[in-house]
C-alpha cells in the first residue's frame, strides 16, 4: 500500500483521483497526452442503451469559476462502446475502469449494466440517476428516493460488480435519496452531479444554452459539493466518492476529510488536460504540509 492508496468497494486504487464521466471521453484521447495509468481509475463517458446525439448546440456556457453544460449524454450506445471504445481503452489503460451508465427506464439501466458487467475491464458500475424517467412523467429518477431505489434494485439484480449510484444535488434532501439507495443495495455513492443552472445572452435576450438550462460544474460548486458529501457520508455506511469543482490536491484532501473515500475530477480536465496528473503529483507535498502520512488515515482504508 502506497501513501496514496485507497479502497473503493473492495477494489484497490493506487490513488483516489478519478476523472469524472463526461470530461474524459473513453480515456484514449488523454492517453495521447500522458500515461493515464497514473490515475486511480476513471469514469468513462455516460453510456446509454441506444446511441444518442444529445441536446442541440450551443450546449456549453461559461460561469464565474465554472461552466454550464447541456450535452445530454452523447454516446454511441452500449454495444458500440463495448465493441469499439473499450478495445481502444484497453490498449492504454491497464486498471479496472468505472463504467458510467444512464437510462430512461428501469429496463434500460438493467440491460446496459448487464452488458457492461460482463466486460473484464469494468471494475465498478457508476449509475447516473439524473436522467428523466420516461415512464414516470419525466421526473428524474434521482430526485425521488423510491425511484432511485428502484433503479438500484434493477441494476443489482442484473449485475455482479459493485454499483455506485451517482446522485443529483437538485433535490431538497440528498441524504434521504442516499439512504434509499443504500437500503436498496447500492455498494457506493458518488456525488454531486451538476447543479441545474442557466445563463442569458444580453445581446439576444435568449438563454445561451439551446436547451435553456444546463448543469453547473467547476470550482463554483465545490463548497456545495463538499457540504453534501459531508452530510451524506455521515448518514450512510457505504463509501462515498466526492466530486464537484475539485481542482487541486488541497481540494482532494478537503473532500476526503469531509468523508469521501475517493474523489472525481470533472470540469478541471476541460481547462487543463493535465489536471488529474498534476493533482496526483501534488498530493504527497500537500499531505506533508498538514502532517498526513497516508490517505488511508483520512479515509479509514
Amino acid at each position: 500500500m502506497g501513501r496514496l492508496s485507497v479502497t473503493l468497494c473492495g477494489v484497490g486504487l493506487d490513488n483516489p483521483v478519478i476523472p469524472a464521466s463526461g470530461t474524459f471521453g473513453y480515456g484514449y484521447e488523454f492517453a495521447e497526452l500522458y500515461d493515464i495509468n497514473v490515475l486511480g481509475t476513471f469514469s468513462f463517458k455516460g453510456t446509454t442503451l441506444e446511441e444518442r446525439f444529445g441536446n442541440p448546440t450551443p450546449r456549453i456556457a461559461e460561469a464565474p469559476a465554472g461552466m454550464l453544460n447541456s450535452v445530454g449524454l452523447q454516446n454511441p450506445g452500449v454495444e458500440k462502446v463495448i465493441s469499439e471504445e473499450l478495445p481502444k481503452l484497453r490498449k492504454c489503460f491497464h486498471k479496472p475502469v468505472m463504467a458510467n451508465v444512464s437510462g430512461f427506464s428501469l429496463e434500460d439501466y438493467a440491460r446496459t449494466c448487464a452488458l457492461l458487467d460482463r466486460e473484464e475491464q469494468v471494475g465498478w458500475l457508476e449509475v447516473n440517476v439524473s436522467c428523466p424517467n420516461v415512464h414516470g412523467s419525466g421526473m428524474s429518477f434521482g430526485t425521488d428516493p423510491a425511484a432511485a431505489a428502484s433503479v438500484v434494485r434493477a441494476v443489482k439484480a442484473a449485475a455482479k460488480k459493485p454499483v455506485i449510484v451517482k446522485l443529483t444535488p437538485n433535490v431538497t434532501d440528498i441524504v434521504s435519496v442516499a439512504k434509499a439507495c443504500e437500503d436498496a443495495g447500492a455498494d457506493g455513492l458518488s456525488l454531486i452531479n451538476t447543479i441545474l443552472a442557466m445563463r442569458i445572452d444580453l445581446r439576444t435576450r435568449k438563454p445561451v444554452l439551446a436547451n435553456t438550462m444546463g448543469g453547473l460544474s467547476g470550482p463554483a460548486v465545490f463548497p456545495v459539493a463538499l457540504r453534501m458529501v459531508y452530510q451524506t457520508a455521515r448518514a450512510v455506511k457505504i463509501p462515498v466518492v466526492g466530486m464537484g469543482g475539485v481542482s487541486s490536491a488541497a481540494d482532494v484532501l478537503e473532500m476526503l476529510m469531509a468523508g469521501a473515500r475517493a474523489v472525481e475530477i470533472g470540469a478541471a480536465n476541460l481547462t487543463d488536460p493535465y489536471a488529474c496528473k498534476r493533482i496526483i503529483e501534488a498530493l504527497p507535498g500537500e499531505m506533508d504540509k498538514y502532517g498526513i502520512g497516508t490517505l488511508a488515515e483520512l479515509t479509514g482504508g
Binding site: 471521453g25 446525439f53 444529445g54 448546440t57 456549453i60 450535452v71 470540469a267 488536460p273 493535465y274
Partner: protein
C-alpha cells in the same frame, strides 16, 4: 495538441474591434492552416478558442474580435506577457485538395485562417483568389495582406461602404476549381448553396475544452457525429448536415 506558454510579441488593432496578437513559443503542434489555439485567461474558467492566422517555427499570429469581457480584456495585454495556450487543435484545411484555382471565401473574423491557407496554397503552386466580406469599411482588414502574398482579393461590405455592396456570395467569380470558407454560420450556409464545386467549410461553435473531451461542440454529419473541435472545425461540403 500541445500545452505550452507563449510570450506576447505584439497586440494591436487591425480594424474596429478586431485585434492581431503575435505570440512567441513552440508551434510544433500546428500541422495545418485552419487549426486553432485555446487561450487560457486568468480569472475566466473556459479557454478562448481562436483560429491561427499564420505561423512559423517559434511564432504564431491570431486575429480576434472583441465579443465579450474575455476578449475585451485581451486587448489590454502588453507585449512580454505570458499566455497558456493549447496549440495544434482541430483538423484544419487540407490545401492539397481541389485543383489549381481555389477560391477563399471569408467573412469577418473568419478571414484570418484563410490567410495562412493562402500562403500554403501558393507554396503548392496553386493560384488562389479571395473574396472577403465584412459589415462595413471600418471592419475591413487583411485585404492588403492577401494581395501582398500574390492572392487577389475582392471585398464585399454589407453596407456598400467598400467594394461590392452585399455579401460574399454577391462577389463570387464564375470560375473556380474548389472553395475554402470560414465565417459566420449564416454565411457558410449561403456559400454552401451558391457554390457549384466541392469545398471545405470551417465552423465555429461554443466549446468547452477544445480538444475532444466534453462533446460540447458536436454536430451531425452524413458520416455520423463529429466534434467541431476535433474532427472539425473543417468539414467537407459533402458531409454537412444543417441543423434546421
Amino acid at each position: 495538441m500541445l500545452q505550452s506558454l507563449f510570450e506576447i510579441r505584439e497586440n494591436e488593432p487591425v480594424a474596429r474591434d478586431v485585434w492581431r496578437m503575435t505570440l512567441a513559443g513552440d508551434t510544433a503542434a500546428i500541422t495545418a492552416p485552419g487549426q486553432f489555439v485555446n487561450v487560457r485567461l486568468e480569472g475566466r474558467f473556459l479557454r478562448r478558442p481562436i483560429s491561427v492566422c499564420d505561423w512559423r517555427e517559434g511564432e504564431l499570429t491570431i486575429i480576434y474580435k472583441v465579443l465579450g469581457a474575455g476578449t475585451a480584456e485581451m486587448t489590454g495585454f502588453p507585449a512580454g506577457k505570458t499566455l497558456d495556450l493549447l496549440t495544434g487543435l482541430g483538423n484544419g484545411f487540407d490545401p492539397s485538395e481541389g485543383g489549381d484555382a481555389p477560391i477563399l471565401i471569408g467573412g469577418g473574423v473568419g478571414v484570418p485562417p484563410l490567410y495562412g491557407l493562402a500562403k500554403r496554397l501558393l507554396a503548392l503552386g496553386k493560384k488562389p483568389r479571395a473574396v472577403l466580406g465584412f459589415n462595413t469599411a471600418a471592419e475591413v482588414f487583411y485585404a492588403g495582406e492577401f494581395r501582398a502574398l500574390g492572392c487577389p482579393a475582392v471585398l464585399a461590405t454589407a453596407d456598400g461602404s467598400l467594394g461590392v455592396r452585399g455579401f460574399v456570395t454577391d462577389a463570387l467569380p464564375e470560375d473556380y476549381s474548389y472553395f475554402f470558407t470560414c465565417g459566420p454560420e449564416a454565411m457558410l450556409k449561403a456559400v454552401y448553396r451558391k457554390t457549384k464545386t466541392s469545398g471545405q467549410l470551417s465552423f465555429e461553435r461554443r466549446m468547452g475544452c477544445g480538444f475532444g473531451a466534453c462533446m460540447g461542440c458536436s454536430c451531425k454529419t452524413v458520416t455520423g457525429f463529429k466534434r467541431i473541435c476535433r474532427e472539425g472545425p473543417v468539414l467537407r461540403k459533402e458531409e454537412i448536415v444543417w441543423d434546421d
